[in-house]
Amino acid sequence: MKAQNSFFDPKLLNESIKQAFVKLHPKIMFRNPVMFTVEIATVIMGVVCVLVLLGNTDQGSLGYNISVFIILLLTLLFANFAESLAEARGKAQADSLRKTREETPAKLQDGRVVASSALQKGDVFVCVAGDVIPTDGEIIKGLATIDESAITGESAPVIREAGGDKSSVTGGTKVLSDEITVTVTASAGESFLDKMIALVEGAKRQKTPNEIALTILLAGFTMVFILVVVTLSPFALYAKVGISIAAFISLFVCLVPTTIGGLLSAIGIAGMDRALRANVLTKSGKAVETAGDIDVLLLDKTGTITIGNRKATKFHAAPQVAHEHLMKAAALSSKYDETPEGKSIVELAGLNLTNPKEEAEIFIKFTAETRCSGLDIGNVRIRKGATDAIKKIVEDAGNPFPTETLDTVQSIAANGGTPLVVIENEQVLGVVELQDIIKPGIQERFARLRRMGIKTVMVTGDNPLTAAFIAKTAGVDDFIAEAKPEDKMNYIRKEQQEGKLVAMMGDGTNDAPALAQADVGVAMNSGTQAAKEAGNMVDLDNDPTKLIEIVEIGKQLLMTRGTLTTFSIANDVAKYFAIIPALFIMAIPALAPLNVMQLASPESAILSAIIFNAVLIPMLIPLALRGVPYKPLGASALLRRNLFIYGFGGLLAPFIGIKLIDMALAFIL
């Protein structure tokens, strides 16, 4: 699943080459104004070739005209090939996802068995251990462990159950235990994945707002160059300089921004493709673009900032109690405790908990009323639990609750920890400190986000004291403590009113309104159907840190467009210095010093310029598909860097490239 398609996968290449010819159809070309003008230019050159073939003599040799024609045709094909390759790669990526859901029989509730492709929205089917789930759906009854590795690549099984926030199942995943009843959420061909494939394939792909604005800019430049070339004709007439049609056409094709024009749609598709590679399904290209502009990120504490569960980190014994005594009692109280917190206490104590006297052990489960758990061994009663609950037990038994312990409890809470008081026979032994474990490396990620200009907000159900501590340690900019679902919504609204763009991730049905309100709402694939419908992206990995990657993908997409536009337009300077002297030098020999590249002949100068122009497109395909790497340096530094590489580079590169091609041509001809 994670396998990357190499750029040179022969199957992709063959398909893309075929598509490159299909896309020559004017109706398809018309979508891209820059390349459409090149197509018209190519047709004109074709006509000129025919005229020369029929005996016209004032347009130069047949070989020269045909060369120009072929190079222009190649320019078009290269541009189409770039788009096709991006489509093919996206499709291949999507297909590998789709492969996981080949025809699987579905057992309907009424006992019938149908093919998965025949399932309709609203159908209900049953899966037992060992079954492959036939299509996407939502569990309406039961609970099961499911192997989702086919989608996420993650081998650990996950639990999905009806009613909660983790009720969605994905087609192609495998039920490992238990039985679930599932209702189909999308008919065949209408799942998120199907929609995404349609986006990539182009038929339904709409230009994003930024793409439209950029197309206007490029069309504007194209108009300027049409003007330059058209008016050059009477100018030349006045100066009594004869210019062949091939030279006019070549000048025009060199000047119009074919590099960015040819790669523009490939860049957009590649953006969605990169999201797909990160296992994120996007519902529109616009969502990816918006991600690059995000100002505020709302992140859930658990799973994003901290490792899912709290861990015991320290034992604080009460006065006159031996440290070992407390450790032993705490560990024993958790001996049969299956919660991660309980397990971590046993782990931290590291004691041998076998029961040599084989006394009866009774595990006391945690309940909402008692708010404590523990173990009875013979007549020894060990309990651990929240401070106020334990305090009540202790004081009801007429024992004192030591003030030192109370102080410890408070200082733990102030440091972002959770205190658990341990008692033995209603006597206080001490406190176990549980701490949230902040994910390693998360501070650096937040620092990176801050340099990108993005504010991070932690959302947690913890009390404000704990939340503040964790927020500070992890390095987030703000937090929402004791958060209720509507708090998220209100926070998003507030930020949006200030003109900021907000991204968030969520899975529950009660997240759905906030997901819909956010500018970029990423729903976890495990989340409820409502959440997935509300958001504009779905993360197949259910990974809360994915938002950070999505933002970078968005930025890369915009940057790739910007840098290639700059590069393309900067190229024109050198092309002028190749072609203008070539046009005039025969009639005005004094202009020889303008031929700064010392190109061999006017014809080789023109051919070199258009060859350079054509081969640039395939040479830049890898960059267009991979994207320009984003570096969080601050906007001005980033602009300087990209201006230097792509602006200055774009100014120089063609001087070198055209000169080399000219030397090669001079050698061949």
Binding site: G220, K455, I588
Partner: protein, 562 residues
């Protein structure tokens, strides 16, 4: 030699030094804050508002403002045409000059309404004094209209989100009464002391050293010449403009006129910064414009002072520089400097004949008008620069991975459409006009003074000057023909009003958008990095649009002459 350069340096630095406080004053005027001249001007303003029934406090949207602007201009256009064509029937015509032909009147009226002053006539023989006054009035109001348009754009970026861009009439009247009028008064006074005539009497008779008797034209010239520069209009009272010994009698008057035309365009940049409370932004804009200006001005001063190699080869001494078409009291250095000042800002007055400047000097003069955004004409210069800012913001915004924004407002497809259209318009009218003239030798080539490349430059210069609303000319061209009068008239109208409508529309649309506060990821537009980006966009757009045309004109001429 050195004194000439010192003189040039002094003019430049003196203007900048006074431009900053003037900018602050202009910002205060537009903001309606108290200034020390309130006592004098407030009653005048109030009288005008009352007379014309205008409510100066009424906030108007950008569309309402533009409608007001265009309507008032249309009215002046027809009024002026009527006066010019019927001036022989009107009083104040001591020399008995005839009424203008329709096509010449159309061209003249348009060219003064649009702050261009492309003069296809000679003031001495073509205009009565009442005609001169009508044109003088237009020199005020056309400058005021440009400044008012700029003030509306200022207004768009002061507030976070606003639907209205102030009141055109108020900005316009204040520009005239509180900025243009006092400055012109000062300049006119200096000119009178330097010997410029200010009289209603007709021609004077003089006896020359050779003993011949000649008729010498005069008239109310000092006032006319003052506003011609203060308002970056450039229309001369006499045919040869500020090369005429009455129009620009001494080196001091030359300094005064230079200062007069340059100071408001510089001050407007600073006024923008003061008005929107972003002074650093103004400094960056100023720096970019200055660098662009110097890139054109320094070579010109150098080339004009170095002289003409072709004449040198004939054995004629070139120590004083290329003196063809120049006057000894001004000198080649100050003339070279002026040739760029007058073309960079859209004045178009000349103190030497541009037709006679060196080939590449001529190219720089044309480039200055082709770019038309380094300081530029009264108010409109900053509007042209604004278009390039929008283009630069768009490209550089993408380059840093954000959808582009300017002053906290997102730049989207609609604004790009307008900006691109305006950026396209300028080369379009210049190149199309020149192409038509080149394609029909009967209209174009037949009127040229020179054959070959220089002749091509004459045509190219004429349309460039018209499109940039500059008004100067390569005066070898015989331009008082229906072809030139009508075609440049059309170019003038397009070149004036679309570049006002476009930026004001963009500003109006942006002003109405939601304000987005800056973050670390926002591309700041008040940095020198961004300034460089704007300069690069300006240079690239100009180079890409005009390189072929310039190659066939001045560049070919230069290489042939060398």
């Amino acid at each position: 030699m050195n004194t000439e350069i010192l003189g040039v340096l002094f003019m430049f630095l003196f203007t900048i030094a006074l431009g900053i406080p003037l900018g602050r004053y202009i910002a205060r005027v537009y903001l309606g804050e108290r200034t020390m001249f309130d006592r004098i001007f407030k009653p005048i303003d109030q009288f005008i508002y009352k007379l014309s029934g205008i409510d100066p406090m009424k906030e108007m949207t950008w569309k309402e403002n533009l409608t007001a602007l265009l309507t008032i201009n249309l009215f002046w256009l027809f009024l002026t045409m009527a006066v010019l064509m019927g001036q022989h029937l009107l009083p104040l015509n001591p020399d008995g000059n005839p009424g203008m032909s329709a096509d010449l009147a159309l061209n003249t009226a348009i060219s003064f309404v649009v702050n261009c002053n492309l003069q296809h006539y000679s003031g001495e023989s073509g205009l009565s004094y009442i005609g001169q006054f009508m044109l003088m009035f237009l020199q005020f109001v056309s400058a005021g209209v440009g400044m008012a348009a700029a003030a509306m754009v200022f207004k768009a970026f002061r507030d976070k989100t606003t639907k209205t861009l102030g009141n055109f009439y108020q900005f316009f009247i204040k520009s005239c009464t509180r900025i243009l009028l006092p400055l012109s008064f000062i300049i006119a006074t200096i000119l009178i002391f330097q010997g410029t005539p200010m009289t209603f009497e007709g021609k004077d008779q003089m006896v020359t050293l050779a003993g011949d008797t000649v008729d010498v034209s005069r008239g109310p010239a000092a006032g006319f010449i003052a506003i011609k520069h203060v308002g970056t209009n450039g229309g001369g009272f006499f045919g040869v403009n500020s090369n005429h010994p009455f129009e620009n009698p001494t080196f001091i008057s030359n300094i005064a006129e230079m200062f007069a035309q340059f100071v408001i365009p510089i001050a407007m940049v600073f006024a923008f910064g003061f008005y929107i409370r972003k002074r650093k932004f103004a400094y960056v804009v100023f720096a970019v414009m200055t660098v662009g200006f110097l890139c054109l001005a320094i070579p010109n001063v150098h080339m004009e002072m170095a002289g003409n190699p072709a004449i040198d080869r004939l054995g004629v001494n070139q120590d004083l520089g290329a003196m063809e078409g120049k006057d000894i009291r001004i000198g080649s250095g100050a003339a070279g400097f002026w040739s760029i000042v007058t073309t960079v800002i859209s004045t178009g007055s000349v103190n030497s004949m541009h037709d006679s400047t060196m080939a590449l000097s001529g190219m720089n003069e044309m480039l200055a008008m082709m770019i038309n955004a380094f300081f530029g004409g009264c108010g409109v210069g900053i509007l042209n620069y604004f278009i390039f800012i929008i283009l630069a913001v768009f490209i550089s915004g993408l380059m840093v991975g954000r959808t582009p924004e300017f002053m906290g407002k997102k730049v989207e497809a609609k604004e790009m459409k307008i900006a691109m259209l305006i950026a396209f318009l300028h080369p379009f009218i210049i190149l199309t006009g020149t192409a038509l003239a080149a394609a029909f030798p009967g209209y174009g080539e037949a009127t040229l003074n020179n054959p070959g490349f220089h002749g091509f430059s004459e045509m190219l210069y004429e349309y460039t000057s018209a499109a940039a609303n500059n008004g100067s000319g390569f005066e070898g061209l015989g331009d008082n023909t229906p072809w030139w009068n009508i075609s440049t008239g059309i170019v003038l109208l397009f070149g004036r009003f679309l570049p006002i409508i476009g930026p004001v529309a963009i500003a109006g649309i942006l002003a109405g958008k939601k304000y987005i506060p800056d973050s670390a990821g926002t591309l700041k537009t008040d940095t020198y990095t961004f300034g460089f980006m704007v300069l690069a966009v300006i240079a690239l757009v100009a180079a890409l649009s005009f390189f072929p045309a310039l190659t066939l004109g001045p560049i070919a001429e230069y290489f042939t002459l060398r």
